[in-house]
Symmetry: D2
Subunit: 396 residues, 4 copies
C-alpha cells in the first residue's frame, strides 16, 4: 500500500493536482511556435511575482544551486570580490560556491538564528572605499534556521554607503510564499527554484536579472556555457532555447503563476503567514521556541524548532519517517540535532498542518520529550479557527 501523507519539509512542497497535470504533458516540439505559447506567460508571470521592472527573466533546467552559479558566472570575473553574511547552511553554500569559482568573498560571520546584519553590511561597504566589492549576496530566507532577512534594509544600507555593488538575493525558499519586491528593493539578481513557492517539482532555476546585471554580463569573464545568459537571451528573442528546455516544468510554472494570481499574491502571502503563526503557537505550547532569534526574523515558510536540552531533533525526524511515514526536515550544520524543521509552504491547509503537528507530538511522546499530546494541535487549532478564510472545497 502506498500511503500519501503530505510532506512537511521546507521544499520540495506538496504539488497541487493542477500543477502535476500541467507538468505531465506529451512531447511538444520546443522549436515550434507552440513552445512560445507556454514560455511567454511563464516569463511574464515570473516578472510579476518577483516585482520586476526592466531586466530579463532567465529560466534554466537546473536547481537553486545552479541559479546561484548562474548569477555569479554571468556577472563576475575571476578575482572579483563579493560581500556575504554567513548565518546558516544555505548562505554558507553560496559563499563556498563563490570561492570555488575563484571569487574573493568578504564574509560577515553571523550567529545562526540571526538574519543578514544590515549594519555590518553597511559598515563593510563604507569601508570599501576602493569599490572592490562587486556584489552583495543575501539569503532572503535561510531555510536552515527559518530566518527571513531584511532585503529592503540591505538596499538602504547599500544606498547609505553610496556603494555601487550589485545586490544578489537567494529567494529560493521565499519567492512565491513571502512578499518580494525586486524593483523596490533594487535587487540585481533574484534566484528562485521551481520546487518551493511555485509548488513544482525540482528542475528549474528561475532568475530575475536587472538591467544593471545584464550590463555586467558583457564583461564577465567567469566561464559558463550551460548557464550563459547571453545564449539564453539570444534564443529567447527567437522564441526558443539554446538547448532542450524542460517543457513540462515550464508549462507547470505558467499554471503555478495562474493559480497564485487567481488566489491573489497578497492572499497567498497571508495564507503562509497564517499557517506559520499556527505552527509557532504549537511550538510555544510545547514549551519550545523557533531558532529565529526574534519575531521580526520569523520565516513564513519554515520553522526550525529548537528542541529541549538533551533531546535530538534528528531523532524526531527519523521516527516520524519510519514510524508514521511523515517527512520533516533535520537540522543542518551548526544546528544539526538542535532543531527539527517544519516546512509550511506551498499548497497546505489547516487540516494538513494539524495532522503534521499531531504527528510531531506523537513522536515527542514516543521519545519521552515530556510534551502533552494535543497541546500544540489545540493551540494551532484555536488560532486557525479564529482566522480561517472560508473556502469551498475546490473541484479541481
Amino acid at each position: 500500500m502506498s500511503f500519501q501523507n503530505p510532506v512537511f519539509i521546507p521544499g520540495p512542497t506538496n504539488i497541487p493536482e493542477a500543477i502535476r497535470k500541467a507538468c505531465d504533458m506529451p512531447t511538444l516540439d520546443h522549436r515550434s511556435a507552440a513552445f512560445g505559447k507556454l514560455f511567454r506567460p511563464a516569463v511574464a508571470g515570473v516578472r510579476r511575482v518577483l516585482g520586476m521592472e526592466g531586466g530579463e527573466v532567465i529560466i534554466l533546467p537546473s536547481t537553486g544551486t545552479g541559479g546561484w552559479e548562474a548569477a555569479i558566472t554571468n556577472t563576475l570575473s575571476p578575482g572579483d570580490r563579493v560581500l556575504a553574511a554567513r548565518f546558516g547552511m544555505f548562505s554558507h553554500r553560496w559563499i563556498d560556491l563563490c570561492q570555488r569559482h575563484g571569487l574573493e568573498v568578504e564574509i560577515i560571520e553571523t550567529p545562526w538564528g540571526q538574519g543578514a546584519p544590515v549594519a555590518a553590511i553597511e559598515a563593510a561597504l563604507k569601508a570599501d572605499t576602493a569599490g572592490r566589492i562587486k556584489a552583495v549576496l543575501a539569503t532572503h530566507n535561510e531555510t536552515a534556521t527559518g530566518v527571513r532577512s531584511d532585503i529592503a534594509g540591505i538596499r538602504r544600507a547599500m544606498d547609505a554607503a553610496g556603494h555601487g555593488a550589485m545586490l544578489f538575493v537567494d529567494g529560493v525558499s521565499s519567492i512565491g510564499s513571502m512578499p518580494f519586491d525586486m524593483a523596490g528593493w533594487g535587487v540585481d539578481i533574484a534566484v528562485a527554484g521551481s520546487q518551493k513557492g511555485f509548488m513544482l517539482p525540482a528542475g528549474l532555476a528561475i532568475l530575475g536579472v536587472s538591467d544593471k546585471a545584464l550590463a555586467a554580463m558583457e564583461g564577465a569573464r567567469l566561464p559558463r556555457t550551460f548557464f550563459d545568459f547571453r545564449d539564453m537571451l539570444r534564443s529567447y528573442a527567437g522564441g526558443g532555447y539554446p538547448y532542450t528546455p524542460a517543457v513540462g516544468l515550464i508549462a507547470g510554472l505558467a499554471k503555478s503563476i495562474e493559480m497564485l494570481e487567481e488566489e491573489g499574491l497578497e492572499a497567498v502571502y497571508a495564507r503562509h503567514a497564517r499557517l506559520a503563526e499556527g505552527v509557532r503557537r504549537a511550538v510555544a505550547a510545547w514549551g519550545m521556541r523557533p531558532c529565529a532569534a526574534s519575531a521580526d526574523l520569523y520565516s513564513e515558510t519554515v520553522t526550525a524548532v529548537v528542541v529541549p536540552p538533551g533531546c535530538n531533533g534528528t531523532d524526531l525526524v527519523k521516527l516520524a519517517a519510519e514510524k508514521y511515514g511523515v517527512a520533516f526536515g533535520v537540522g543542518l550544520g551548526e544546528v544539526a540535532g538542535k532543531v527539527f524543521r517544519i516546512g509550511h509552504l506551498g499548497m497546505l491547509t489547516d487540516v494538513m498542518v494539524l495532522g503534521g503537528l499531531a504527528t510531531a507530538e506523537m513522536c515527542m511522546a514516543d521519545l519521552g520529550w515530556g510534551v502533552r499530546l494535543g497541546s500544540g494541535v489545540a493551540a494551532a487549532a484555536e488560532f486557525y479557527r479564529g482566522s480561517a478564510v472560508p473556502m469551498a472545497m475546490a473541484a479541481e
Copy 2:
C-alpha cells in the same frame, strides 16, 4: 488554488496514486486479447477478497445500487417474497428497490443503531413453513449508522431454521476493509462497489454469485438486460463483455487487489480496525458515543457520531466543508441531524485521521459544542502511537 484535503466521507474514499494511474489509461480495444489480461486478474482477485468457492464474479459498469438491482433481477420473479431487516438508510433503500420491482418484502423493523436481528430472522424463517421466502437480504455494514451486522450469525439462523432461502449481502461499505467470508458464511450474492474498500472511483458494481444463485438465474423472471448475468457469463467465456466495459476501472480493480494483497488482507483489516478505534477514542474524549448500540456492532469503516442534545450534526458537516474544506458525512433519514459521520476506510494514515479529528474539533468549538480543542486528537494519538505499525514512506 485547489486545496487537496483528504475526504472523511464513508466512500468514495481517497484514491491511492497507483490506482489513479492504473485507471487513467489510453483506450484499449475491449474486444482484443489485451482486455482479458486486465480482466482475468481482476476477477480472480475479487474471488480471493470475497472468500469465494465456486460461483462466478460479475463486474458491472454501475454502482452499488445497480448491484442490488442485479442481485434480485437475476434470481427472482415478480411476486417472490424476500426477508429483510430495516435499520438504516441503506437497508431501507434495498427494501424499497425490491418493492419497486414487484417483490413482496417481509420487513423486520429494527431500531437504527442495531444490526440485523439474528433471532428475529430465525423466527421469521421458521414461521415460513411454506418456504415462500426466496431470499434473505442483509446489509453487512450499514453506512448510515456505522453498524456491522453478523452475517455468520444470519447463516447460522438460516441453518437452524432449516430454510433454503438464498442469502444476499450488501457488502458495499465492508468488502475490502473488513473480513468477508462468502463461502464460510454461505452467502449467495455479495454486492460490492468500486469506491469503498477497493479505493477506486465509483463506477463498478462487483458481485460474487454462488452456484445456488446461478441456478436460480435460469428461472428468474424479473426483466433485465443491462444487468443480465447470462449475457455477462456468455461474454466472459469468450474473454469479452456484452457491451463496452469500464476498462480503466477494471485495470484499477486489478491494481487495487494487488495492493491489498501486497499489504495482506489481514493487515488491511487490522489497519482499518486500528484507525477506527482511534476515532472512537476521540469520540469518547469528546464525551460523545457512536450511533452503533454496542461495541460488537462497531463498523471499522465509518463511525456515526451521536452529537450532544441541542446540537445538529449537519451543521458540523456544512461548517467543515465551507470553512475548512473538509468533507464529513451527514446523518441520513432517522438520524439526520442527530449524527455526523466520519469515514475511515480505504487509503488512510494516522496523520490524515488526526488532521480530520482536529478539524472536527475546530468545528465543534466554532459551534459552541463545549468540546476542548485537542482532546480527541490526543486520545486518538495516544492510541495510534501505541499501536503503530512502522512503515517507510512509500516511493510509489
Copy 3:
C-alpha cells in the same frame, strides 16, 4: 515496451489528454456544493450538443445499453407496443432488449447496409389506427454497418401519419460527431454514451428526455430503480444524485463539451466528415466499397469496408492486432467476416488516419488480397491535403 498506437475501432475513441486529466481527479464529496459546479455545466453542455429545447438531461453511471434500457423502462409499461427497424447489430440489440422487458416489438426487417426505412415506418404508423404503438425506435448511426439513418425523415413520416408515438433515437455513435437536432427532429429520448463523440472512457449513459417523455414517465410501469428518472430528477433538483455518481467522468464530460465548443460543433462535424471522406477514398482506391448502400447513408464515424470475395475481414482485424498492434473493428452478425470496420471518430488527425490506412494495407498485402501498398494512403492523402484546415500544434 508499451506501444501506444491510436485505435481505429468505432469507439471507445482515442481520449484527448485534456479529457484524461479532467477525468483523473481526486475524490470529491458528491454531496457537497463542489459537485454541482462540475455537474451543471455538463448538463447544460449536453443540452446544447443534443439541440434540446425543454426536457431534461439524465446522466447515468452506465453505458449505451443502459441508456436504451432506461429509455424504455422510464416511459413504457409491460405489453406496450414499439415500432423498430432491424438493419444491423445495434438496432437488433435494442429490439431484443425491448422484448426481454415484455414489450411487443413491431419489427421492420431491413437489409443490413440500408438505413431506417422511412416509408415503411410511415406505413406502419398509418396502419396503427388504434394508436397501439407507443414509441418508434431508431438507430441514428448503425455502428455495425456504418449507416446513418434519416431521423428528420422519420419525424416527417410520423407527422405525415399523424401518429402520437414517441420517437426514441440511439445516437450513441453519432452524437458529438455528426449533426443532431433533438428539438428540430422532435426526438423524445436521445441516447448517447461517453465513449464515442464525447471522447471519454465508457461509463456514462447520457440521455436527453423531452417533456413528452417526462410526462409518460409518471405512468410507466416497467420496473426500474437504478435507471429511474424520477429519483434522478428529484436528486438533481437538490444538486445531488440518488447514489454515488461517476464524478470523474462527469468532470470529463464538462471538459469534452468545452473542447467541442471551442472547436465549434460545426467544425467538429466537418472534421469528421472530412476524415471519413478520406477513408472512403482509400476504400475506393483499394477497389472496395462501404457496406452502406448509398452515399446518403454513409456514416461519418465508422466505415464498414466490404472485403473482396474470398477474403475475410476478421482475418485482417486479427492480423492488425497481433502483428501491428492496431485495433480495427470486426464485422458483427450478418456481416461477420464480410466487412472490417474503420472507426474515425473522436480525436483523430490526418496523420493518425493515414497511419491506420497504411496498416490496413500492410495487412491486405500480408493476406494476399491484391491491394497495392500506398494506393489507399495516396488517395486519402490527396484528399486531405486539398481540404486541410491549417492548425498549429496544440500545446495542451
Copy 4:
C-alpha cells in the same frame, strides 16, 4: 481541440504512458530512505545500458549541454588541449563550449555528412608526441546530419597511437537506441540525456565516468559547483544528493530502463534499426538520399533527408507543423534548408512512422517537389511488413 500527433523530431521523443506515470509522482523527501529506492536502480540500470565496468554514474538535473560541460570541468584545467572533429552542429557546439571554458581545441574539420575521421584522429594523436592532448571528444551520433561515428574505431586509433588521452563521447542521441559499449570501447566519459533513448522529458544529464576520468577529477582546475562530481559522489555515498534532485525524472529513468530491459536491449536496437531502414526505403522511393555519406554512417535514430535542388527542407518542416500539426526537424548550420530531419527513436511503431511518412509526402506534394503520394509509404510498408515482430497490443 488538442490533437496529439506523435512527434518526429530527433528528441525529445514520444513519452510512453508508463514513463509519464513514473515521472508524475507526489513529492517524496529526497533526504529519506525512499529516495534511495528510486535512485539506486536508476544508477545500476544506467551502468548496464552504457556497458560500464568500474567507474561511476553521475545523474545531474540538467541537459546534454550540461553533461558536456560537466565532462570537461570535472576532468580538465584551463589551457588543457583536447582533440575534436567538427562535422555537424552538435560536434560544433561541444567544441565551442570547450573554447569558452578556456581549453585549447585541436579541431579536425570534417565535411558534414561524414563521421569522426578515425585516420585523422590517429594521425593527430601520433603527432602529439608531447602528450599535450588530454582528451579526445567524439560525437557518437551527430543529430544534425544523422551520422553515426565509429567509436570503437577511435579507440583503436588511440591505442594504435599509443596515446594516453581520455576519450569523451557524446552519446546523447544514441545511448538507449543504438549499441553502446563503454567498457569495450574504452570510453572515459559518456554523456547521455533523458529525452532521447530513455524516452523521458528533458531534464537529466546522465554520465558514465570511468575510473581514469575519476582520477583526473581530483586535479582538474576548471571551476564548477553545480556540476561537481566530487559533491555528487560524496552525497551518493550517503544515499543522497548535494542539492534537490529531479526525483520524478529519476523515477522515470528507473522505469525506462525496466522497459528497455524487458524488451531486451538487443531487441530495442533492432527495432530502431528496422524503423530507420523503413524510413530510408521511403527516402529512396522519393528519389532522395540521407545526408550521411555512406551506409556505414547511417544513424538509427535520425535521418537527415537531403532535399532536391531548388527545394528547402525548412519549408517542409514549417508546413508540416502549421498545416498538419506534425513536428519534423529542420536542418541546422551548414545544412540549414538543405535537409529536413525525421527522428525515429524512442517509443515508435510502424503505424506511427507510416503516418509521419505520409504527412511528409503531403507536404512534398503541397510544395510541388514532384514526389508521388504513397510512394515512400509503400516502400516503408513493404519493408515493415516483411520484417515485423508480432506483438500484442500492450495493456499498459
